[in-house]
Every structure is written in C-alpha cells, then in structure tokens.
C-alpha cells in the first residue's frame, strides 16, 4: 500500500486506490481549519465564507486523492497542471477567506517570529516566493526526481499549498502588510505574481518534445500522446489559471469600485 500518490510505473486502472497519507493530511487540514473557522464565525465571518473555506478543504482533498492524485503523480501532465491550479491558486484563497480574521489576530507581531511574519506577508516577498516555488516545482529535473517517490510527491504538493497561501495572504488576510497595499495594487499584484506561471504554461505549449520523463515514459494513456497531454497541461495552466486570476480580479474590482465591503475585500491592515 502506498501512503501518498507517486509514480508507480503500473498501467493506469480505474480501480479506486486508498492513500492513507492523503486522508491523514486532509484530516489535519480539516481540524486546523475547523478550529480557526469557529473563531472566525465568533468574530463575525459570514456563512458564505465559512462554506467557501470548507470547499477549499474539499478541493485540497480531491486534488490529492484518487483519481487526480495518482494520475498527476505518474500518468498525465494535464492532471498535474490541474493539481497545481487547485492546490496553489484556488484552494488557498478559499481557505484564507474563511479564517482571515483569526489568522490576522494570531499572527505574531513581535520578536523574530513577528519580523519573519511581516517579511513573508510583504507582497513583494510573497510574490517572489510563490514564483520561485512555481518555477522550481516545474523544472524537469525536480519533477522527474521527486515525483517517483512518495516523499518527493508529498513535498511538491505541500510546496504548492504553502506557496499558494503565501501568495494569497497579502490579498486576503493583509495583516501585517502595509496600508499602501490597496485593492488596485492588490489586483496588480495578483496579475504580476502569476505571470511566471503563464510563462511555464507557454513553455509547455511550445516545446517540441515532452518535458518530463515521468509522463513521457509512463504507461500510455489510450489515444493520447505525451506531447498532446503536455499541450493540454499548458492550456489548462494558461486558460484555467487566467480564468481564476482574472475572475478574482474582476470580483475585487467591482467590489472596490462599488464600495462594497465584503469578506473577500482586503481588510484594513492593523496599525499600531
């Protein structure tokens, strides 16, 4: 039995597989989320935000578990791209929007931890970190080295979730970011921060041969060549990624221009 989805080298089968590590990780995430979500509800978070957060937990689970997890781990690059979008771009904002108030309150503000938190939540640092994670986890040598092992596949999944949380934190949680990170700047930040992943998608689309050995040499997917799969992966990252980012930017814009203060709008950063 495998505890985490990684490349197995066996032909794909639609027989469901059980990955204990995925369930344990999801359970831990759900417990932590539940603890924060209760506090968030007590602090006035909306019911919509609460359920958006649970949908984020569900999305993480679906992205890691069978069938998406093992497909992404060793068979289809397009599933890998879908997993990246789910774990790094979609689930993190859903999770953060539900618990942003207790998260902001619990963030350390003093000492070394406080300085570290302030540094990591700076938009410039957060954007750079997310892009470094995106670039590193899409390099062929990294993917082909890590994905065949359970620990390696786990590390990539965790890096995506962590990178996504860091990316979205300045936009959704805000604290202790500076006051100048207004909604228009946040929209610009999101646009700029995701340009790199657009570039990665473009590389997938224009490469003449498959980028990753793990998908090129995997047991074949019927009637679907590795290169076609790679192009699909690039398309998923390009179009679905753009849909997510520009969808959220659009919502932010209309909320901002309409002067509506909702849970999705960035809160005023706490000041001394």
């Amino acid at each position: 039995m495998q505890w985490w989805c990684s490349a197995s080298g066996k032909p794909w089968t639609w027989d469901p597989q059980f990955y204990p590590g995925v369930w344990v990780a999801t359970a831990v995430l759900a417990l932590v989320f539940y603890a924060y979500a209760r506090r968030a509800r007590a602090m006035g978070a909306s019911r919509l935000a609460y359920w958006l957060g649970w949908s984020g937990v569900g999305l993480v689970w679906q992205a890691l578990d069978w069938p998406v997890g093992p497909l992404a781990a060793g068979y289809l690059q397009s599933a890998h791209a879908l997993q990246f979008l789910s774990l790094a771009l979609v689930a993190p904002p859903l999770l953060l929007v539900a618990v942003r108030k207790p998260l902001a309150a619990s963030l350390p503000t003093a000492g070394a931890a406080g300085r570290m938190a302030a540094l990591l939540t700076q938009p410039m640092i957060a954007g750079v970190l997310f892009n470094l994670v995106a670039i590193a986890t899409h390099m062929p040598v990294v993917v082909d080295t890590l994905m065949p092992s359970q620990a390696g596949a786990f590390a990539i999944d965790v890096a995506w979730v962590a990178g996504g949380l860091v990316l979205w934190w300045p936009v959704i949680v805000g604290a202790p970011a500076r006051a100048w990170f207004s909604v228009p700047v946040a929209m610009l930040y999101l646009f700029l921060a995701t340009l790199v992943h657009t570039g990665i998608a473009m590389v997938m689309l224009i490469r003449e041969f498959p980028m990753y050995a793990i998908y090129e040499l995997a047991p074949p997917w019927p009637e679907w060549s590795p290169l076609e799969d790679q192009h699909l992966a690039g398309g998923v990252m390009e179009l679905a990624g753009a849909a997510v980012i520009f969808g959220i930017i659009t919502v932010m814009f209309f909320r901002w221009s309409g002067g509506v203060a909702g849970d999705v709008a960035p809160p005023a950063p706490p000041r001394d």
């Binding site: 032909p11 003449e208 498959p210 040499l217 047991p219 074949p220």
Partner: protein, 209 residues
C-alpha cells in the same frame, strides 16, 4: 511487463567505443545516447511474415537503410507502446526525405495473440509505414538468438487468461553501413532520439567507405 535488464549485448558505455564507432562510420557524428556496441552487429538475414501475409526478407528489404528493429507484443502494457511511440513521434518530426530513409520493423514475441491484422492495427496507431513481422515461437527465438538477444518468455496467465511476455526492451538500430553500433534501451526519450536520429542518418553505406 517483464524486461531483461542485462543482456549479452549490453556493455558499459565508454569513450573508446564511441570513438571507434565514429571512425568506423566514416566520421559520421557518434550518437549521444543509447548503449554503444563494439564490435558492431551485422544486419541479420531472416525471413518472417509481414502484415500483408507476404514473406519479408529483413536483410534484403532493409539493406543500406536506417532500420529500427524491436521485439515486442501488442498487448504489452507499457514498454512497447511507449518505446514505439517515441520513435514514431521523432520520425514524424523529420523532413519527408529523411523519413523515407528510415524503416521501423516490429517483430512480435507473442504470435499466439498477435495475428497479422491485430499487428497491423496496433502499428497503425503509430505509423502506417511501420513493418510488422510475425513468425512462430521457434522462428522468432531463432532470429533473436542470431542477433544475440535472449528469447522472449511467456509469463503466467492470470485468472482472466491474460499474460505478459518478457522480452528485450531495446531498439536495435542498423545504420546504412548494415551494422548496428548502438542499442536504445527503454527510457530513451524523444529528445534523445531527436538528437541521435539525424546523426544515424548520416552514416554512409559500407560500399562508400
């Protein structure tokens, strides 16, 4: 599937062997991938049945032509379709002229299940010009033995009657000088083929040496 990791033909890559190949091939650039063969393996002569049901004399039909020879079976779940597909993808990326200079010959190691139409249908998924050959177990074993390959081994049938066949997972490439100087094991990637095939195409026929 079952595959042979160690075959009599396989030897460690070495600079000397690569250099010897480069000299022997009239200064054609040496391939950068695969496992070099020293001495080179002469193009064998054998006759099996092609997918039209006609005798196919391998030595005569492929003489002087870049030839990819692979032994496998159509029910193979992983190595065969991936290996064949990777060669096909790169051949398709070549110019029409260069495509005409190459042949891919697939010999089934599972004649019990690989009928000629089944073989043709399977190969057509990759390329309609790929040659499929079939013989009985003894004939195919004799051919493999002549090339220095271990014989295919039929695995144990499962409850559903399905079985796998162990076979060498290497593509043997005969160049225009009617010798094979390099083997490509499973794991050779399209980018590797794309780098090597143009080099292999530049090997000149033996008579021009």
């Amino acid at each position: 599937m079952i595959s042979f990791n160690r075959m009599p033909l396989l030897r460690p890559r070495s600079v000397l062997i690569a250099a010897a190949f480069a000299l022997g091939a009239c200064a054609a650039p040496a391939p950068r991938h695969g496992v070099p063969l020293e001495p080179g393996l002469p193009r064998p002569s054998f006759t099996l049945t092609d997918t039209r049901g006609a005798p196919y004399e391998f030595g005569r039909e492929t003489r002087g032509v870049l030839t990819f020879l692979f032994f496998g079976y159509t029910n193979c779940p992983d190595v065969c379709p991936v290996h064949v597909a990777n060669v096909a993808a790169v051949l398709h990326s070549l110019s029409f002229e260069d495509q005409q200079k190459a042949r891919f010959v697939f010999v089934t190691t599972d004649p019990a299940r690989d009928s000629l139409p089944a073989l043709r249908t399977w190969l057509d998924h990759f390329d309609r010009t790929f040659v499929g050959l079939r013989g009985d177990d003894i004939e195919v074993t004799r051919v493999m033995s002549a090339i220095g390959l271990p014989p295919a081994v039929r695995g144990v049938s499962g409850p559903d009657g399905r079985y796998e066949v162990g076979h060498p997972a290497t593509v043997i490439v005969f160049t225009a000088d009617d010798s094979a100087h390099v083997l490509y094991p499973f794991g050779t990637r399209q980018a590797d083929w794309a780098e090597d095939i143009p080099r292999l195409l530049r090997v000149r026929p033996a008579k021009e040496h």
